[in-house]
């Protein structure tokens, strides 16, 4: 790995070494090149943002990281090792959790159950034990339930615990999705437009949660967001993409003043 | 007084087409008795139908529903018969399955509650082979056995196989799946490829019409095509009309339109508006057969009433009645059914009667008798019957037999 050194952020937080590195990733769908030869890295403990116009390939990049797409070319390095081609669920088991741009909750289940699914990677009682509701299954259920309740408290969704998610308004769904991802106690958390469709107040709440997660659990966060206020305030470093190419990478200030970025995305300086 | 003799009918489902005329014939005969004579021996007959749609499941349901008061059960399909057979042995109700059911039921010592007179499938198979043999030795010939892939269709196989071995012909069973009844081109292609000398058909419901049309299409010589009695339904042949000329079906019944019975039926039932049948159907083989079936049951009831001196007989008494049917030629004439059924008799050991039958032939518009009475050669497969019955009894142990009855009486 090239750069395992950490760095210190503007507001004085210590960031760790490289957690994940994308090397020369290219992704094609038939004729469409969604990602073209992009490299960047994510350090342990930082908040990394990916921005860019619509259709730039941001979500696709997240999908590559979480193993949903296999890159046509390029390598993914994770925790110091090259990641072999693997199934998405194996990636998840390595501690990568995510939320989705178009909410992907399990609509038929309650909030509690949805969040509990986040713990699946940590539970392994056998079928018989579960069928009898005895021994390991029961204990495991209770232990994990407690962890989940902590996440639920943390995200302030106690009162909707037993509501089927299908009935929830959009913003709350996003929060439940975050809860599900958090319940997995990931080392890398991927957020695809966590604040889309929220008003300022809700964005504030969401920001608070993201920062708290980052602070309290030291979770590394990689997020995509279109609200520049949020991106600039929250992130430590920003990657900018346009038409599948990387056009900028650096601290919010650097990016903000990058002429390419202004032309392609921001329009006016923010 | 009323005697409850429910009929597990099927006027719905894929076999309805063949079921309806039979059910009508059966019902009309009983209605006629009720109208003309006030029933049998003073007791009216409650011939209620319970609809099964030929489904075994519904059949069992009907059996359970009716068995409380019924003095007889008429299950009306080989599947249902097989299913209720062990139950009747416990519930002690006679099963009357004229011309269908399980052939070993002939052995009354084992199947004390089951009856399938006047002839069983093994009789039928034997009669058909006799008929074919009469046209020339079967040695080295090939007979295709086109059958419904269902217990009913497989029923005659043991006798067919026995004959194949003894007479040196090649037997080629060709099954027709329940879902393929209307689409038999594969079967008929096979027949075309194998070029059998004869096709013997054990078909039912929509299968017969399918087979007959296919036979016409592939230009199979109709005179070499013979069916069991259930494959001789006028409507099926009407589909092809003239082209079906020469097709044959063995039968233990015949619609003698001139018989006095037909006039009585017309007068007391049809004209009185008590029947669901129509003019055309009435002339068919199946309607006539329905009449015969009920006549047999009525005969059994009458026997029991006379023997036990009461009109209000119970199931056990009816069994005696059915075991002592003696339908002589005189009696047949007396019933006004001349030429409609061959004479036969039953005993406690012989529950089938082995009446024999006529070969009917389609003349382009209707079935006509094409042979004298053919009698089955029961001795040839008496052992088969006995063994099969024994085997059944052992695998269903404990099985109550009729200990008082021995094969000789």
């Amino acid at each position: 790995m090239k750069d395992t050194e950490g760095y210190v952020t503007a507001d004085g937080r210590q960031i760790g070494g490289t957690l994940m590195e994308m090397r020369n990733i290219t992704l094609r769908f038939g004729g469409v090149v969604a990602i073209q030869d992009i490299s960047f890295d994510i350090h342990e403990g930082e908040v990394r943002a990916i921005i860019g116009p619509n259709g730039a390939g941001k979500s696709s990049m997240l999908n590559v990281i979480s193993g949903f797409y296999t890159p046509s070319e390029g390598e993914v390095w994770y925790q110091g090792a090259k990641r072999p081609p693997m199934k998405p669920y194996e990636v998840a088991r390595q501690g990568v959790a995510r939320t989705f741009q178009n909410i992907a909750l399990f609509e038929g289940m309650t909030v509690l159950d949805n969040v509990m699914t986040g713990r699946l990677t940590h539970m392994n009682a056998g079928v018989v034990s579960q069928a009898l509701w005895w021994g390991k299954a029961r204990n495991e259920e209770m232990e994990n339930r407690e962890k989940v309740e902590r996440v639920i408290d943390f995200l302030e969704i106690q009162n909707i615990r037993k509501t089927p998610v299908g009935r929830l308004p959009y913003g709350l769904k996003k929060r439940v999705e975050l809860a599900r991802a958090l319940a997995a106690e990931p080392s890398l958390l991927l957020l695809d437009e966590p604040m889309a469709g929220m008003n300022v107040e809700e964005k504030e709440d969401m920001s608070r949660f993201i920062l708290d997660v980052n602070d309290e659990f030291g979770t590394t966060i990689c997020l995509i967001e279109h609200d520049m206020g949020v991106v600039m305030d929250l992130s430590d470093r920003v990657v900018v993409m346009d038409y599948g190419k990387k056009i900028g990478d650096g601290t919010p200030d650097e990016v903000r003043n990058n002429q390419d970025v202004i032309d392609a995305y921001l329009g006016v300086p923010h | 007084q009323e005697l409850y003799t429910p009929n597990l009918a099927y006027r719905t489902g894929p076999f309805a087409a063949t079921g309806i005329p039979l059910m009508n014939g059966q019902a009309d005969y009983m209605t006629m008795l009720n109208q003309r004579d006030g029933g049998i021996g003073g007791a009216t007959i409650d011939f209620e139908e319970c609809e099964t749609g030929y489904s075994t499941e519904k059949g069992v349901e009907c059996y359970e529903k009716t068995k409380g008061e019924a003095i007889v059960t008429q299950p009306w399909s080989t599947g249902i018969t097989l299913q209720v057979l062990p139950k009747t042995n416990v519930d002690e109700i006679p099963i009357l399955a004229p011309g269908y059911g399980f052939s070993p039921m002939a052995d009354g010592t084992v199947f004390q509650w089951a009856f399938n007179m006047p002839a069983g499938y093994w009789d039928g198979a034997d009669m058909i082979i006799q008929h074919l043999e009469a046209e020339g030795s079967l040695e080295g010939k090939k007979i295709a056995f086109l059958h419904l892939d269902h217990p009913f269709g497989k029923e005659p196989l043991p006798v067919m196989e026995m004959h194949a071995e003894n007479k040196g012909f090649e037997l080629l069973p060709i099954p027709v799946g329940l879902n393929e009844m209307q689409n038999q081109s594969a079967q008929w292609l096979q027949i075309r490829r194998e070029r059998p000398d004869y096709v013997v058909m054990w078909g039912w419901g929509a299968m017969n019409a399918g087979a007959i049309t296919e036979a016409v299409k592939t230009k199979f010589p109709m005179e070499n095509f013979v069916g069991v009695w259930w494959a001789g339904h006028d409507a099926d042949l009407k589909l092809v009309g003239e082209d079906g000329k020469g097709y044959k079906s063995i039968s233990w019944s015949f619609p003698n339109l001139d018989a006095p019975l037909m006039k009585e039926i017309k007068e007391h039932v049809i004209d009185a508006g008590l029947s669901q049948t129509n003019e055309e159907e009435m002339q068919g083989v199946f309607y006539g057969r329905g009449l015969v079936m009920s006549a047999i049951l009525a005969e059994g009831i009458k026997n029991a009433q006379e023997n036990f001196g009461t009109a209000d007989i119970d199931a056990t008494q009816l069994r005696w009645g059915l075991e002592n049917i003696n339908l002589t030629q005189e009696r047949i004439v007396e019933l006004g059914m001349e030429g409609m059924v061959p004479p036969f008799s039953t005993s406690c050991a012989n529950h089938t009667g082995h009446s024999g039958g006529w070969m009917l032939e389609w003349d382009g518009a209707k079935f006509v008798k094409a042979s004298d009475l053919i009698m089955p050669n029961v001795d040839a497969y008496a052992d088969l019957i006995q063994n099969a019955a024994e085997e059944y009894a052992t695998s269903n142990a404990p099985w109550d037999r009729n200990e008082e009855c021995s094969v000789s009486n």
Binding site: Y89, A131, R145 | C50, E57, T78, L178
Partner: protein, 409 residues
Amino acid sequence: MLYRTAGQFKTSYIADQALFPVRQDAFLLGIILIFGWVIFPMTASEFTVQTLLIPILIYALAAMGLNILTGFAGQLSLGTGAFMGVGAYACYKIITIFPELNPVIAILLSGFFSAGIGVAFGIPSLRIKGFYLAIATLAAQFFLAWLFEKWSWLYNYNASGAIQVPNSEAFGIFVMGPQAASITEYYIVLFVVTLLTVLCINLTRGNLGRTWKATRDMDIAAELIGINLLKSKLTAFAVSSYIVGVAGALYVFMWKGAAEPNVFYIQLSFQVLFIAIIGGLGSIMGNYLGAILIVGLPVVLNVVAGTQVFEMSTGSAILLIVLIAVATFLFGVARNLWGMGAAIGFGAVTLIYGYAQLHGFRIESAMIEHINVMIIGALIIFFLIIEPHGLNQLWRLIREKLIIWPFPH
């Protein structure tokens, strides 16, 4: 305020995770259990046990098995009938090979065979989804049904191709076969069904249940959060087929007493699917409600249609009152759904039917059957419309209303 939940607090997650967080539900369940285990067996007639209680339980169990697969894991299956068949044939082989084995154990063992076959046919589910997956299960359905016909080893080379339940003893009484008392069979069925229901409830509320539901709701997301889809789907196929197989074994060995291959045709699959859907996909209790409706209703309709008011027993009188209540309810709903016109039409039909009943107008059995088929078809549509999520959801809504009652919201 029948369903007042106020004042019931949970102080631990264990308590919250209990089967019935609301006390009234537990109470209700108690009542149902008492009815099932004590009151029904004491009061029901043989007919009721045979045509209502036993089949309802068995069908509910089969539907529950299907529900695990389709309702919980989201994999549509149209092969239930064949998997029931695998269970039944496996049980038959086990019982004939080891006649000494306790029949209940044999039944529980036979499920493992269907589970194995189920898993085999479930493998394509990883690639094939939705209706396309139904094809895989249909392939199982048709292929297995064909195998039941062709592989004579399965039915011990019986001539008829049917399997027959032998009389077997356990604990000194006959527990299966024609000699077994209905009530014994009922208790065995009830025991097995209760046992499997409890296991199912546990499975579906635990980790595995969540895995299934996640797979059902959004398989891509499920995989991305760490669920191994293959494992999730195959466990669902295994558990589901196990239950379905046991239901199949019960179906033949505790209820029908014999079975031909065509019993396990696709019609059976649909029947079970109806129950699961009408009852409510993704619920356990719904299967019982669905079975009561789909299995019970035709029987009840038949009984009512066959009974004239003047010769009515108290039992049918109660039935009639219940039916009137149901009709009133349906009338109300119809008005909501399709407007007054439809409701009046509906009412008129009901009245005519009732009038016909009163005047002893007896409809032909076939007509009753036709009308029954129509009514069932209409009811399926009707229930789907008033509550697409099934009777279970309907019950839940009623319950939710009761909880907040008497406040409207």
